[in-house]
């Protein structure tokens, strides 16, 4: 019997939570919308879009001749070797020498360190394919930089390793869409964060709320029975 009472009270608390949410619904919805709108505005109008262009390279043999055509056995070791080499290529691609070359060739106004922040060199797993990506606020520039870097890398590899091993598969095209800011993601995250914050705020307000609105308020916090309720039909004055 007491268990039922306990369950009853838990049920009441759930209903109370819904009541609180309903009462503060306007504030909660308003805050959530505001956060989402602010995030959207900032994403769409304030933040500078950043574009990324990618050049795809293949780090394998330059030419295939009857003598050096790969057999299944050799292919495995070739891949392993290539993997090692590719790590070298990664390092070379981001070396100061190479980057400086790129900067000189296309007259970039930045230091190699700054350029290296914009550059990302990645190896596609299980392949000998290298992707050189460069970020820039100007999409054309991004493409130009990516292709230039690829070009300089190929030359560098030739010079340093004396291999004609790297070649371009896909040159970088001018990207249409920026990779950042991620407008929808920002807005959604802001909305969720706003919602959580708003709900928390609502409960904080409730906790500090000193007003008396319902018979439950009276019975729960004052511990006195309510003997009648005079409804506010039109405007009943009080004195």
């Amino acid at each position: 019997m007491e268990e039922q009472q306990q369950l009853m009270e838990d049920e009441i608390d759930l209903r109370e939570i819904f009541q609180i949410l309903r009462r503060r619904a306007k504030v909660i919805i308003g805050t959530t919308l505001a956060c989402a709108v602010v995030a959207a505005l900032v994403s769409f109008f304030v933040l500078t879009p950043v574009y990324e262009a990618t050049t795809t390279l293949f780090a394998g043999r330059a030419t295939v001749t009857p003598e050096n055509v790969s057999t299944p056995q050799t292919l495995q070791s070739e891949i392993a070797i290539a993997k090692e080499l590719v790590n070298d290529y990664q390092e070379i691609a981001t070396s100061r020498v190479v980057l400086q070359q790129v900067i000189n060739d296309i007259n970039l106004q930045m230091t190699p360190e700054e350029l290296s922040q914009l550059v990302s060199v990645q190896l596609k797993n299980g392949t000998r394919i290298i992707m050189i990506s460069v970020k820039n606020t100007d999409p054309n520039m991004a493409a130009l930089m990516a292709n230039k870097l690829a070009e300089v890398l190929i030359n560098a590899v030739q010079q340093i390793l004396n291999v004609e091993n790297v070649q371009v598969i896909d040159a970088a095209t001018v990207p249409d869409e920026p990779v950042s800011p991620r407008k929808t993601l920002n807005t959604a995250v802001a909305a969720v964060v706003g919602l959580i914050a708003a709900i928390l705020l609502a409960f904080i307000f409730e906790y500090f709320d000193n007003s008396i609105r319902t018979p439950e308020d009276v019975e729960r916090h004052l511990g006195l029975p309510v003997l009648t309720i005079i409804p506010d039909l039109d405007s009943e004055g009080g004195k």
Binding site: R22, I212, P215, V218, L222, L224, T228, I229, I230, E236
Partner: protein, 243 residues
């Protein structure tokens, strides 16, 4: 006599609000079946929560129920019972207590019949003293032999001690709280004030409750046009929460 519009029980006996006062009357009578209640202090924590309106309407429905009722304006700081009933306040309780005037000379009869009203009379410089005086206590005792019920409309009880003093010598206290301007901490303080002197708060009247807080499920109440006995139905929507 020109009763004000707040006296719904007089002007509109079949309205929902009058019904609420009848419920109040019944619930007061049955709140403590062991100790019959004759003297009732009506007060509220803060001013303007509706205690005089409640006291007036309650007195009316009690009189309409057949009892002999005396409504006393015990708010010697801001009396308003006379305004509520549209009667004069040239003489009243203070004359009776200070000048030893007789009850008959100062009490006024209401149109309801069974309802006598004692306004404050001239406002004294020392309200708390008067309310706490032996003379007043004796006056109340005497009235209990004449009337079935004595309703004392008193000053707000957080700022002033009058109601608490009156509560001490009464059978019960009714706390009127406004759902629009009422404050919980004031109400809690009011409760403590009465507990300290051993006065019994029999319950709360919650005044001006917003319709959306009333939890009737498709509750149908009706108004009645007395002359024709026709009924007009008004439907309330179900909302969460309870009445």
């Amino acid at each position: 006599m020109f009763p004000g519009p707040e006296l719904v029980t007089l002007h509109n006996p079949s309205s929902l609000i009058t019904e609420s006062y009848r419920v109040l009357r019944t619930n007061i009578l049955y709140s403590s079946p062991d100790n019959p209640l004759k003297t009732l202090v009506v007060t509220s924590p803060l001013p303007g929560e509706g205690k005089t309106t409640t006291a007036g309407n309650l007195a009316v429905v009690m009189a309409q129920g057949g009892s002999q009722v005396l409504l006393v304006d015990l708010d010697l700081r801001m009396p308003s019972v006379h305004r509520l009933f549209g009667i004069s306040n040239s003489a009243g309780l203070t004359n009776l207590l200070v000048e030893d005037r007789s009850l008959e000379s100062v009490v006024q009869k209401d149109s309801v019949g069974n309802l006598d009203i004692l306004t404050t009379g001239p406002i004294p410089p020392n309200p708390a003293e008067l309310v706490g005086s032996k003379k007043f206590a004796m006056f109340i005792e005497e009235m209990k032999t004449v009337y079935d019920y004595i309703i004392l409309d008193s000053s707000p009880c957080v700022a002033y001690t009058d109601s608490v003093l009156a509560g001490r010598i009464s059978d019960g206290v009714l706390l009127v709280i406004s759902a629009t301007i009422g404050k919980m901490d004031a109400a809690i303080q009011a409760k403590k004030n009465f507990e300290k002197v051993g006065a019994k708060i029999i319950g709360v009247v919650l005044n001006g409750v917003n319709k959306s807080h009333l939890g009737y499920s498709s509750y149908y109440y009706y108004y009645e046009d007395d002359e024709q006995g026709k009924a007009v139905r008004k439907k309330k929507k179900r909302t969460h929460g309870r009445m």
